[in-house]
Symmetry: C2
Subunit: 237 residues, 2 copies
């Protein structure tokens, strides 16, 4: 029986989060330094070979956890890349994209600094300042960012970056960072309030100015509508 022998299947994930830097909040993602050929010493998306007993989405979740020590707030398949010449050997990569909550990333980083147990060969990069990448991973990241910017317009994926409770200004800052442009605070407030995806709490974030009400994501709804695929993605087996 003729099979697709000689083709290997890999799973990689573009793991996105927002990080507060000296240049404000920026989109960032963790990359892994390759230790082997091809592209030894180059940075690449976290991932690995798909094993015989693991679903692709499970492999994505696993490598994500291995790389970051965290669980994603959102995980969706991006695309299957399979051009013949994208790797010296024949590799089809099923690529996922994921969102991490900023606070969890920060907490994890602090923990790593405290314990000195940070993973080797993993580093966070700003999405707009990437090093030379292995394979076609630069184009893959470009597509992942396009998908994120697209989806932020008609879904609530931006909430995947934020902690349990957040102010509308924080949510707006997340969206502004993703889109790369400023939004009118008044209109943003009304739009997101009327969307019904937020639950107002009785708490307020007290800071330098008038306290801002804290909101939380409504728990019943998905961050994005994935149609009939919801069940598939859900079952990480």
């Amino acid at each position: 029986m003729t099979r697709s022998s000689g083709i290997d299947v890999a799973v990689s994930t573009a793991i996105l989060t927002l990080r507060r830097t000296d240049r404000g909040v920026v989109l960032s993602l963790p990359l892994v330094r390759r230790t082997r050929e091809p592209f030894a010493d180059r940075w690449a998306l976290p991932g690995g070979w798909l094993t015989a007993t693991e679903a692709p989405v499970g492999a994505a979740a696993r490598t994500l956890a291995e790389t970051t020590g965290l669980a994603p707030s959102y995980l969706e398949q991006l695309y299957a890349f399979g051009a013949v010449d994208r790797s010296p050997s024949r590799v089809v990569s099923i690529v996922y994209w994921a969102l991490l909550r900023s606070d969890q990333v920060d907490a994890q980083s602090a923990e790593y600094r405290r314990t000195g147990l940070a993973p080797e060969n993993v580093r966070w990069f700003d999405a707009d300042d990437l090093p030379p990448l292995a394979f076609d991973h630069a184009q893959i990241i470009e597509y992942a960012l396009w998908r994120l910017r697209n989806k932020v317009g008609y879904s609530r994926v931006a909430q995947g970056f934020l902690p349990e409770e957040f102010t509308l200004a924080e949510l707006r800052e997340a969206v502004e960072t993703i889109l790369g442009r400023r939004l009118d605070p008044a209109n943003f407030r009304r739009q997101v309030e009327s969307s019904g995806t937020l639950i107002a709490t009785d708490e307020f974030r007290t800071g330098n100015h008038r306290p801002a009400r804290l909101y939380r994501s409504s728990p019943d709804a998905e961050l994005a509508d994935r149609g009939p695929l919801s069940s598939e993605e859900m079952s990480i087996r």
Copy 2:
């Protein structure tokens, strides 16, 4: 080196077109009767194993041509399905979805009838009246239809079903069939005219009533915006 050995890669395509039947225009797709286990004698999406020298999109275009004798007016990757238990052996299917022009399908069918050279084991089914399918192909088709219905709202994929020249009523009928609901002719006209994706010709379709102006798709624009992926999909090598 540990590879994903034991995993085979297949490429399948949900090939969609509109066909005029006794119950009006309906979404239809060609299925292939399987001749081997597993699921022998069941109907399945056209496809085959990914070969070592072929890009996935090329394999999709090839099997599409082998099944229908036609070239698609639109071809896009749908999803990579890889659940462990979706097949007795471990198979990852990269699934595409494609649109065929109705007139080309009709012409091809007439040709087959004339010459008696219709492909064996291929049959067209109405999308809302499918037989029991092999593997997870029923869910795959459901997802392809969801994607089509979704995309028809913010792109001009519906034009992929129509011939070079068509009336606004024909375009509207296509959209109505996809969405499963009637649209206001007046509003539809204005929306599609203001979108700038159509070019009015000087010809008219003469029929039972007032002649309707013929339009053609503007050639410069894609049927749908696929962002940075346009180049990938284009290169069918």
